[in-house]
Subunit: 554 residues, 2 copies
């Protein structure tokens, strides 16, 4: 029995105030369960950064209490930080078959072995310390997605994961209404729910509607069809393959991640590929255009992906030819609009017909719209509500929605990463903060790129650098040789010799005026050179390159 | 009379295959008329570039033939290059009053005086050499916008400019249907038409519909209202002022460009401000919240604009307070989605209620949708058709639309900047190319930032720079002192001393192995150092900073 003061704490470590790097810790007594461990792609101001992961210091500081990591599904924003987290934390990981299948590929790439992976199924029940953990099937834009209910002695915490309510899912398995209503009936203490599409009224269309658009497009296409989609959207891929089979087309799979997912998903039985449908990419040229479908990546205009290479005429095996029908079955993620538009332009120029987001039904979202969010709130009827998985305005609007559904405003918490939410049977409250934020990964460096490096990269990217090498004779503190002035990314050097000479003259003149004391104080000397040059260059060019004086003594 | 071989040439210098930097030259005989002279904002890969203007070499090479520049309206993508172009070309400029009013401000900022500016009105007729030029009123998201008909002895060329067909415009003056039908009746040889919204089915909503949304929002708001919009959207500003007046609110105008446009537009009579409506920004605090409207810029999340500063709590005079209603009456221009989303998030966090694009009717486009484009084609019935003002896919789709409307495919030209289109009475054809493209403006430098500088900035922005200074004794060709290794934007120096030391050791070791010949050949020496270091650093960090060896001899 739990005592009166018993409490469960929710510690969001990522995914609040942002779309990406989802990670939430749930604590009861001395035990912590972590839900998801995602990464996100860097904002444009994080120059040179490859990926961003949550700051998981809190987990390291409470290492002995962390009993497991539960994955709701296999998207990068839910599993992408695991290769980093698992280097520091040796805990069991729980997820459905496809999720772990995708994770294994990632772990292998990162040379991580010996991870304790545990396959769970919807409706499985898992007991860890005082937690009773249940997995509940949901629909999403990847197969095998689950919600998680974490039972504690004072009540259960339900995390919906990413979900939509698809009445006609591709695999026939709808979201587990019965389980959601059952736990709702038992009483849910806290619900965390996906806020991504809270700004969309109505219902999100069924994945099946994309199949109808595929069917229509495949029926009309007179030559090759190229379908670009997220590799992980197994049901989308399934529908393209079904349409291909229906219209007697062979399917070639192109692009590393698409090949990877098709392999894993078909091995695990999530993707059903009719016999004799797949052909090798090298066989494409031997099949008539109207008998071919090419499945590829690049729906976001990513530079190295299949479709982007084809659009730039840089793909080794596939050249776009007039008459090709290209289906981009996705919408651009915010930030990718321009690269997607560029890809489409190139494809049109090569004579292809491109079917993209401006055509209805070529893509549907994997997240619940307002009416579905309301349905979830009605089924579960939680006492406390914490909107998650969204930028601040989405969390805010989800909170308002819940208020309209009858949850008292004081029982709704729009949180921030690192802000601890504490719940007893009777009360919910903010309970301080733990360290949270972002860790920047650049190459092999995890966390070594910080604000200083980023500030420098920013300045370098805008106006380049000007380096002045001053060689000083240590015997008389005079210039040993004329200063060298070198620039990169500032002006086109070949056409700016005069400017560089004038810059050198300014340095010489300045040093000529310095007394011996100043010549000995390098910090002073450097700041003087910087000042003189920055004034001169700004006046001449209205640019502010980084000015880097280097003094060597001989 | 024109002879059989007489021809009119259309030379697009900007605006094809892109949204921005519109500029078209029309040539007949030995005379050239230029329509618009716009700029565009740089794509994200043009690091440090401030603005992009069309390469107008063709105009300079044919200076004596250029007889005038006609402006269709006052948006930056139509007038923004003039301060540069007019420095090199002394030709008369023609535009409506508001357009020239906005231009004058720009010219003043750029210290350009003595420009030959000529105000024209819709239905004016202007004769220049053999051209008979007529101006035709259209609706757009700025007041006083016109289409231009350029009559030549072999037929007329109609350029729609940016337009929509607003049946209930704010100023009551609809697009001049009668003139369009009249010139259509006379016969138009070539039409160039706005392709921006060709992907949108149906009609673009009337500007007036935004007024209805304003009315509803103003009626319900209980405290201050802040409206952010494009300053140049005079009709939008007018509707905000009307709504303010109706609900007894005072209006404060904030932000340099908003103040500027409100001044110009009200002086010229395009904006009607009821007496005693305007208050100074300093007076805002003295008026109750429910009696205030603040008009400002920043609808695109631009870093220095009014709304963005308020959102970041950096605005000197206006602090956002809970209860404020903020109306963002615009949609993000592609590329600005993330900065707009960030602004909205900050405003919500400060307790404001933000009404933005997710709410219907808070913004309408200024460009014609499919049905309006069809109507224009039907009214004008041109013999030849050239879609303009759009990315390639939009031009392509506009061409398809025109084909559906009965214009033969061979009479439709999807052109490119610099590609000359030549029309006789009987024939239209591609006729070679002239120099065209983009000129990058960075600070005072016009055209001095090219691919080398951009490539350097790119590399610097991703992984920074590592500089190695090697001082060589000219008597014995030995190191005079230990090499210096300095980095910026690569790793956090204070935590990377060991890495830097190892890098220095690698350079020393390499130089130790060089024979005297190599020590004399600096190019060889530098490439050796670069190779050794780049291999070492990549192995250690998986980053590729720019490596810059500097050799000084003493």
């Amino acid at each position: 029995m739990a005592n009166r003061m018993a409490k469960v704490s929710i510690i969001p470590l990522g995914g609040l105030g942002e779309i990406g790097k989802n990670m939430t810790a749930i604590k009861y007594g001395e035990s912590i369960i972590v839900i998801d461990s995602g990464m996100m792609f860097p904002e444009e101001d994080l120059l040179g950064v490859d990926i961003v992961i949550p700051d998981y210091t809190y987990l390291l500081e409470n290492k002995s209490q962390v009993k497991g990591i539960i994955l709701t599904h296999g998207h990068e924003d839910h599993i992408g930080a695991l290769p980093y987290v698992l280097k520091d934390l040796d805990v069991p990981v729980y997820g459905t078959r496809l999720t772990l299948g995708l994770l294994q590929g990632k772990l292998k790439e990162n040379h991580l072995s010996g991870v304790n992976l545990n396959v769970v199924k919807p409706r499985d029940v898992l007991k860890i310390d005082q937690f009773k953990i249940e997995f509940i099937r949901v629909s999403h834009s990847i197969a095998d997605a689950i919600a998680v209910s974490i039972g504690t002695p004072i009540g259960s915490v339900l995390h919906t994961g990413d979900f939509k309510i698809d009445m006609t899912p591709i695999d026939g398995d709808t979201i587990d209404f019965h389980k959601f209503t059952a736990i709702g009936e038992q009483g849910v203490l806290v619900m965390m729910s996906d806020s991504t599409n809270v700004e969309r009224p109505g219902y999100t269309m069924s994945e099946k509607s994309v199949g109808e658009t595929f069917d229509e497009t495949f029926r009309l296409a007179k030559s090759r069809i190229i379908v670009a989609s997220f590799a992980s959207n197994v049901h989308r891929v399934q529908q393209a393959i079904w349409a291909a089979a229906k219209y007697n087309r062979k399917v070639a799979v192109v692009g590393r991640s698409m090949i990877n997912v098709v392999n894993i998903a078909s091995e695990l039985g999530y993707l059903k590929i009719p016999r004799n449908t797949l052909i090798d990419i090298d066989e494409v040229s031997q099949v008539p255009g109207n008998r071919v479908v090419i499945l590829t990546t690049g729906s976001q205009g990513e530079p190295m992906s299949g479709l982007t290479r084809m659009a730039m005429s840089e793909h080794k095996q596939i050249q776009i030819i007039p008459g090709d029908t290209i289906i981009i079955s996705a919408v651009p993620i915010p930030g990718n609009e321009k690269s997607v538009a560029r890809t489409i332009d190139h494809l049109f120029k090569l004579g292809a017909d491109v079917i993209h987001e401006s055509i209805a039904g070529i893509h549907v979202s994997g997240h619940a719209s307002q009416e579905e969010l309301k349905l979830m709130l009605n089924l579960v009827k939680p006492k406390y509500f914490v909107p998650v998985h969204g930028e601040y305005r989405m969390l805010y609007k989800h909170a308002k929605l819940a208020e309209q559904m009858g949850i008292p405003a004081e029982n709704i918490f729009v949180g921030e990463n690192g802000q601890v939410l504490e719940f007893t049977r009777k009360k919910g409250q903010l309970a301080g903060r733990v360290q949270a934020g972002r860790i920047l990964v650049d190459g092999l460096g995890v966390g070594d790129v910080g604000s200083v490096v980023l500030k420098d990269r920013k300045q370098l990217s805008q106006d380049g650098i000007l380096i002045v090498v001053v060689t000083i004779n240590r015997t008389d503190f005079q210039l040993a040789t004329s200063p060298e002035v070198i620039s990169r990314g500032f002006v086109y050097v070949k056409e700016s010799e005069k400017l560089m000479e004038e810059a050198r003259d300014h340095v010489k003149e300045f040093i000529g005026k310095c007394d011996q004391n100043r010549m000995k104080d390098w910090a002073l000397l450097k700041s003087g050179i910087r000042e003189v040059l920055s004034r001169f260059l700004y006046e001449k060019t209205k640019r502010r390159p980084m000015i880097l004086p280097i003094i060597t003594e001989i």
